[in-house]
């Protein structure tokens, strides 16, 4: 059984309202040394597949067509072994 971990982040240059607000909040409660905060999503899939090439193909397609919006987001993923 294989797993996939997909990291979805906002593209460079896209303003991140959540990250900006978190940055401000962290400063407000006294943390120093922050320059920028950007937030993203981590999507974990457990796959009913054993073939890595097949898994990669499926995850790539899911990322491109459904899980991310290419106008604002980019993604990276890793395929791993499930327990």
């Amino acid at each position: 059984m294989l797993t996939a971990e997909i990291r979805v982040t906002l593209k460079e240059g896209v303003l991140d309202p959540q990250g900006t607000t978190l940055n401000r909040s962290l400063e407000n409660i006294g943390y120093k040394g922050l320059k920028e905060v950007r937030m993203g999503k981590l999507i974990q899939l457990t796959l009913d597949l054993n073939d890595r090439a097949q898994a990669k193909e499926l995850v790539e397609e899911l990322c491109l067509k459904v899980l991310t919006n290419p106008v604002i987001e980019q993604y990276q993923f890793t395929i791993g072994e499930g327990k």
Binding site: G13, V14, L15, P17, Q18, T20, T21, V66, L67, N69, V71, I72
Partner: protein
């Protein structure tokens, strides 16, 4: 002349749109479930507001895969009218019928208020009853209405005059102070290049009665009716 209102699981403004067409225009709209693949000869398709499929992944991201959306695309390609309101607008963006994407509002809050809109175009099927630069009051109610497009595409959108409505003050002045969600260039509504697909965050179907705050949403529904009457 036939209007169709599509219902996705999670749509919650479909009845309001239905009511707007029925009572506002005196026409009997068709209800279309998202699994259907027959638009029943509708001239104008309304994608209503709400939270299609819960909007858990991204707003409108799953709704665009509904069987009916392929037919809506074909309808739009043939030049048929499509108006997406709020979540309907988000679905149009996700399905690529309109350019851009919606981000969470810059204040991170769900914003529910009546806003002033500057009318940027009155030569469209959706706006022929409005005056250019007229200020209309229409409610918004959304958390993801922060319109984003990369700089080059945004310039293209502006150069092609695809912006139809902008958030403004009561005198029509467009400024950041009047921007409720952080949208680029105060964008509240856009059309495709052909001018037959409109997406807007404000809810004209909620502005049909002066008693309830504003009846200026009627102008948009009246425009569509007038246009369809003209083209026969």
């Amino acid at each position: 002349m036939k209007f169709g209102v599509i219902t996705f699981p999670g749509s919650n403004c479909d009845y309001d749109c239905h009511q707007a067409v029925e009572e506002g225009l005196g026409l009997k709209p068709v209800r279309i479930w998202h699994r259907e693949t027959d638009l029943q000869g509708c001239d104008c398709i309304i994608l209503p507001g709400g939270f299609s499929y819960g909007d858990y992944l991204r707003t409108g991201a799953i709704a665009r895969f509904s069987p009916v959306m392929q037919k809506v695309k074909e309808h739009a390609e043939r030049g048929g009218l499509v108006i997406g309101i709020c979540n309907g607008f988000q679905i149009l963006l996700e399905s690529g019928l309109l350019p851009g994407a919606m981000m969470v509002n810059r204040g991170l809050q769900f914003v529910c208020q009546t806003v002033n809109l500057s009318v940027e175009r009155n030569d469209l099927a959706f706006t022929n009853k409005l005056e250019k630069k007229q200020v209309i009051r229409i409610p918004i109610a959304h958390k993801e209405g922060n319109y984003y497009l990369d700089q080059r595409s945004l310039k293209e959108l502006e150069d092609n005059h695809q912006v139809v409505f902008r958030y403004c003050d009561q005198n029509g002045r467009i400024s950041d102070a009047e921007n409720p969600n952080g949208s680029q260039n105060n964008i509240a509504g856009i059309v495709n290049q052909k001018g037959n697909v409109l997406g807007m965050m404000p809810h004209p179907e909620r502005a049909m009665e002066a008693l309830l705050g504003s009846d200026q949403g009627r102008l948009i529904f009246d425009s569509i009716k007038a246009h369809l009457q003209k083209v026969g």
